[in-house]
């Protein structure tokens, strides 16, 4: 115990390995997605390549069965995945956090009703719910998929927010803050949201990954973004017939999907370590 460091003014550790790796993976995805707005190796509809070409200098990841460049489609798929993940989480977070906070403040009866409703909604499989919404809308589009996934996420976020907010609201510092004259709205903004944020943000990132996977599943089933909007799920589905003859077509979008989801989870993990001052020092 000779080197016991009791000083409290040690600079806080601001970085973690998970944060760096996660940030790199997600960042790569974002860069690629933005890049596709201006440039792709080929026109996504250009079918000038040979059928199911193996990777070469001309087509780094080969071509699909219509001779279109595969790398181009995967890059555009990154854009689709990001839009779905961000959109669904944004919808889920705004509805979910609002409902959750309201439930935490609600009277006993209203709170019970909300909790039961949320439990029923969560018991409903997300993918099934999304399929129903997409099927019910006139045209299978990316937006109906985002809305459906966003609603499913909002139920999960609302339940989590409700429990977290209730726990925070029981703390002495809330009462102390109230006795000094802070309004309930002030308490939410100053104390509740910052204190539930570390847990919520991790959950958001987790939901982001799940939304990306759910969208891929919907596209795989033909319920996601219609062609020519490339989606990793649809690429996987199209490549499934040739998985033995041209394995790259199945492996490449799979890797892209896994990389984004893992990257997002690592990013969330690192974010929690950095965002929570009580965790910073003990590392």
């Amino acid at each position: 115990m000779t080197s016991l460091d009791l000083s409290t003014d040690r600079p806080a550790r601001r970085h973690s390995l998970s944060l760096s790796i996660g940030l790199a993976l997600v960042g790569l995805n974002v860069v690629v997605a933005i890049l596709t707005l201006f440039w792709t190796p080929y026109d996504p509809l250009n079918a000038s390549g040979g059928r199911l070409e193996a990777p070469s200098w001309l087509h780094w990841v080969g071509t699909d069965r219509l001779g279109r460049d595969y790398l181009t489609q995967i890059m555009i798929g990154a854009r689709t995945a990001l839009i779905v993940g961000t959109g669904a989480v944004a919808i889920g977070a705004s509805i979910g956090v609002t409902l959750g906070i309201l439930a935490a403040f609600a009277t006993r009866l209203l709170d019970d009703v909300m909790a039961a409703t949320l439990d029923i909604l969560i018991a409903f499989p997300t993918l099934l719910l999304a399929m129903l919404v997409v099927a019910a809308s006139d045209s299978a589009s990316l937006w109906s998929a985002i809305l459906a996934l966003g609603l499913a996420i909002s139920a999960i976020v609302a339940r989590l927010t409700r429990i977290l907010a209730k726990r925070v609201l029981r703390q002495d510092y809330i009462i102390a803050s109230r006795t000094s004259g802070t309004s309930w709205l002030g308490v939410v903004a100053w104390h509740v949201l910052p204190n539930i944020w570390p847990t919520l943000s991790v959950n958001f990132a987790l939901q982001f990954g799940l939304a990306v996977i759910a969208e891929a599943s919907l596209s795989y089933l033909g319920l996601g973004a219609p062609p020519p909007n490339a989606s990793w799920g649809r690429l996987l589905q199209e490549a499934q017939g040739t998985v033995y003859t041209a394995p790259v077509g199945s492996i490449a979008p799979g890797i892209a999907l896994v990389a984004l989801v893992i990257g997002m989870n690592l990013f969330a993990d690192g974010l929690r370590d950095v965002g929570d001052p009580t965790r910073r020092r003990s590392r």
């Binding site: 009462i175 102390a176 803050s177 109230r178 910052p194």
Partner: protein, 270 residues
């Protein structure tokens, strides 16, 4: 002496059980009063009732008039104007009384900013900052700048309680409610905090409602005490009288217990 706080026939019921029954007392401005009793005797419930912050499923009847305003049955948004102006609370557990994710300076700044806004119509960043450092200095915290920039988990328990006291003082309340403020601290720190509270109360002239189960602790800071058991007031009077000639057996037991405890610890006098 005009009563700053006047409690008449206060009864608090929670879950079909009467926690406080028919309690009456009053505190004049600048007066220091102690509320004594073992855990579950309704001390803290009484304090919470005075702040008007009991959850809605706990029923409060009777009358609590604080600074001319009836608390019982008054809507929350009206009480909000009273809070911080009339009362502030220091809690037992200094760790949970501070927001773990907010820097100490910022937590104290909030009530300071509100008070300056109220008193002067505006609160500049510099004025608030100066006041925060002033308050930290007032509660005898070393290196106020460092403490203001620290998170609650980065300072010691005694320091946290000083911060909590600074937060309560930031409002310049007319009545300070201290709910077992020294119970979670070790004996040396306890004595320091008591001395600090005592000095601050005398200096600022605010009234004090000191809640504790620890007789010697209470005796050090207050003028008058009330002994509570199972939500019923057993006796009330000047500290010296109550401790020297307890009129109730229960008080006698408490005094004896405290004395025996002191002797066991080798503490002399109280």
């Amino acid at each position: 002496m005009s009563a700053l706080l006047s409690v008449q026939g206060l009864t608090v019921r929670a879950g079909g059980k009467t926690v406080v029954s028919d309690l009456s007392f009053s505190i004049g401005s600048g007066e220091r009063m102690g509320l004594i009793g073992e855990s579950g005797s309704g001390k803290s419930m009484t304090a919470m009732a005075i702040t008007g912050l009991l959850p809605p499923n706990i029923s409060v009847t009777g009358s609590i008039v604080l600074d001319g305003q009836e608390i019982v049955g008054t809507e929350d948004k009206h009480l909000n104007r009273l809070r911080g102006v009339a009362t502030a609370v220091v809690f037992q557990e200094p760790l949970t009384a501070l927001d773990p994710l907010m820097k100490i300076g910022k937590q104290i700044a909030e009530p300071v900013r509100r008070r300056l806004q109220r008193e002067q119509g505006r609160a500049s960043r510099q004025a608030v900052g100066r006041e925060v450092l002033d308050l930290l200095d007032k509660v005898a915290l070393p290196q106020p700048e460092r403490i203001a920039n620290a998170y609650p988990h980065e300072v010691s328990g005694g320091q946290r309680q000083r911060v909590a006291i600074a937060m309560a003082l930031a409002c310049r309340p007319k009545l300070l409610i201290a709910d077992e403020p020294t119970t979670a601290l070790d004996v040396t720190t306890q004595a320091e905090i008591l001395k600090l509270l005592d000095g601050l109360v005398r200096e600022t002239g605010m009234a004090l409602l000191f809640i504790s189960h620890d007789l010697p602790v209470v005796a050090e800071v207050v003028q008058r005490v009330m002994v509570l058991r199972d939500g019923i007031a057993l006796e009330e009077g000047a500290v010296i009288d109550v401790f020297a000639n307890p009129s109730h057996d229960y008080t006698q037991t408490l005094v004896d217990a405290a004395r025996m405890f002191d002797e066991a610890l080798g503490r002399t006098g109280s």
